[in-house]
Symmetry: C2
Subunit: 362 residues, 2 copies
């Protein structure tokens, strides 16, 4: 088991990366001074694979467990789903010392976290991410929330978990497309912060399916990605500055996701497209070299992720959508742009014409 | 202007008590490094009296102001109202540096605060309380939220304001019944923490209407109450321990409010009834003297607040409702009980029979 400690001003918690770790969840939680009540929140697909094991582990450690499945999919990441969780919390008389455990991907984690953040003004929360995307990104750092019909993650709260438990073995049942989506965030960490991780992935022949990764590479991917996220979050919990670099590829990515109704491209695919766009912007602005952009492009293609805009999206619609992004400051769109592999810069000085031009080339 | 500084681990803010202060709101806010965007949230009644002055003050200080009125009343303190605020926030393109200003009583403050806590995972928030109840209690301390159909304030977040501005002059337009409701919380501060404040009020002939209070007494009431609340909150922001004493009178009070559908008795009236019940429990358990309970009863009666249970409530229903209170820990109901005027103790060792007995006598 590899443990990363995330230190924040008001609290600290462990990110435990442990093959077969699901069976140890109850024991790990038993050291955290939590109340006995646990509400396990999952979706039908994930629950079918791992629900029983998780419940057994929790009950063996003395917890009283109730469980609830939310429907699967980004389109259910709504306030209406949160209201369902409130009703379940009330039915189960969840008290302030109770814990909500999220077993699932980013959607389940974000929603369970937001319900935990706002039930009785905040109860305990534990993340057991089951997708690569949520393991390396969504489950770490305390961002929780739901979508507004007109924008992703516009409603939410910062609420740190008490524990993040990552069991790489659950990736065996992850659909290929979901695996590749997670790889987008891993590539992101390579570009923004970890040139070694980037180079390790370049050396692997195939990255488009889980089965082609050695156990060692998978472990490096998880540990280095989680460490990168933890480092950035510990320096800037509420995204006052540095944390913004984690949004590399997300500025245009969010617009693409939103404009396709969160259905045609998934989050990771949108980030991949967004990284290609951000990289090309950086090239055009003279910030980084075409050779580096080519390496990024090749790595994204090797994971089987898209590098071009979906044909049905109009470029003007993307530029408009950028204005409603949370990262907008005084009407200026903020971009994270690479300067070399492993280093990025933050700027709100990107002319609209440049954005138009890059998008037209994609 | 009397200013109380509330120091918290991650931030500090001022509670400014200033007759005529509404005209200075913009200037006070201009020192707080807030973005230019302001969304003023009020209700039609309060907005009619003070909306224009507030907007003028903000605009003179350079803020861009939009305003929105929520319907007046506890029955609208729902997630549906919060969704309306989200829609307005989206329409007005509120950014992370934007500020929501609550102009109104506790309902407006709690809802505006919760919307500010959860829009873009938290934007700035300023409280301009216009009822006595919200001036001395709800507006200070960062508790925000809405009611669940089956329980008061079950949904919410801690989100501290950047400023609380209290203008005593606005109490002139406050309905008498609302004024008396606020006096319940003032009496509470006397019992739990400030015997001098309690004695000052005993010396005043009439307390049932705003007009009978001297400017000096009103100032003492506001300053001492806000100071008491700020002291307690600064020592225990998230209600881990000490802050629970602020719930004196609220344990049974919440049950009474909830069982009458938040309509027949208002919050202050319910707290008055709850204080009488808690005081009698303390007498019966040998914790404080009948003479002190008699003084409390007389002071509550002098303010015109109720001291008996509404006849339509069944005692068993109250005891059941106590179980769903947020303050329940491991199934045990926690009571705040006085030991002398100015001092209380916290206990979860009150036998149900004692609760039944006291309620039957009321």
């Amino acid at each position: 088991m590899h443990t990363i400690r995330l230190n924040l001003p008001q609290q600290a918690y462990d990110i435990a990366i442990a093959p077969g770790g699901i069976a140890k969840l109850g024991e790990l939680m038993s050291h955290l001074h939590l109340g006995k009540q646990v509400l396990l929140v999952s979706n039908p697909t994930v629950f079918q694979h791992y629900g029983e094991n998780v419940i057994a582990s929790l009950e063996n450690a003395g917890f009283d467990v109730n469980s609830y499945n939310l429907p699967d999919g980004e389109q259910y990441k709504t306030l209406a789903s949160i209201e369902k969780l409130y009703n379940i919390a009330l039915e189960n008389h969840l008290e302030r010392a109770a814990t909500m455990v999220a077993l699932g991907g980013g959607v389940i984690g974000d929603m369970t976290g937001f319900a935990a953040a706002t039930w009785l003004r905040g109860i305990n929360f534990v993340q057991v991410p089951t997708t690569l995307l949520s393991m390396v990104d969504a489950a770490i750092g305390g961002k929780t929330g739901v979508n507004h019909p007109q924008g992703k993650n516009l409603i939410g709260a910062f609420h740190q978990p008490k524990l993040v438990l990552i069991d790489p073995q659950v990736l065996q049942t992850l659909p290929e497309r979901e695996f590749r989506a997670g790889m987008a965030e891993v590539i992101k960490y390579g570009v923004i912060r970890d040139a070694e991780l980037f180079a390790m992935m370049e050396q692997c022949d195939r990255l488009d399916q889980f089965q082609y990764l050695s156990k060692n590479l998978l472990q490096e991917i998880l540990v280095r990605s989680c460490q990168a996220k933890a480092d950035v979050v510990s320096k800037d919990e509420k995204e006052a500055g540095l944390r913004a670099i984690l949004n590399y590829g997300h500025t245009i990515g969010h617009a693409v996701e939103s404009l396709t109704g969160y259905r045609i491209v998934n989050h990771g695919e949108a980030v991949a497209i967004g990284m290609v766009a951000a990289g090309q912007l950086a090239v055009n602005l003279g910030l980084w070299e075409q050779a580096a952009q080519d390496r990024q492009l090749a790595l994204i293609q090797k994971t089987g992720l898209p590098t071009q805009l979906p044909t049905e999206i109009e470029i003007n619609a993307i530029v408009d959508a950028l204005q409603t992004d949370k990262k907008v400051k005084a009407g200026k769109v903020r971009f994270i742009l690479p300067t070399k592999i492993g280093v990025v810069t933050i700027t709100d000085q990107v002319p609209s014409e440049q954005i138009h031009q890059v998008l037209q080339q994609m």
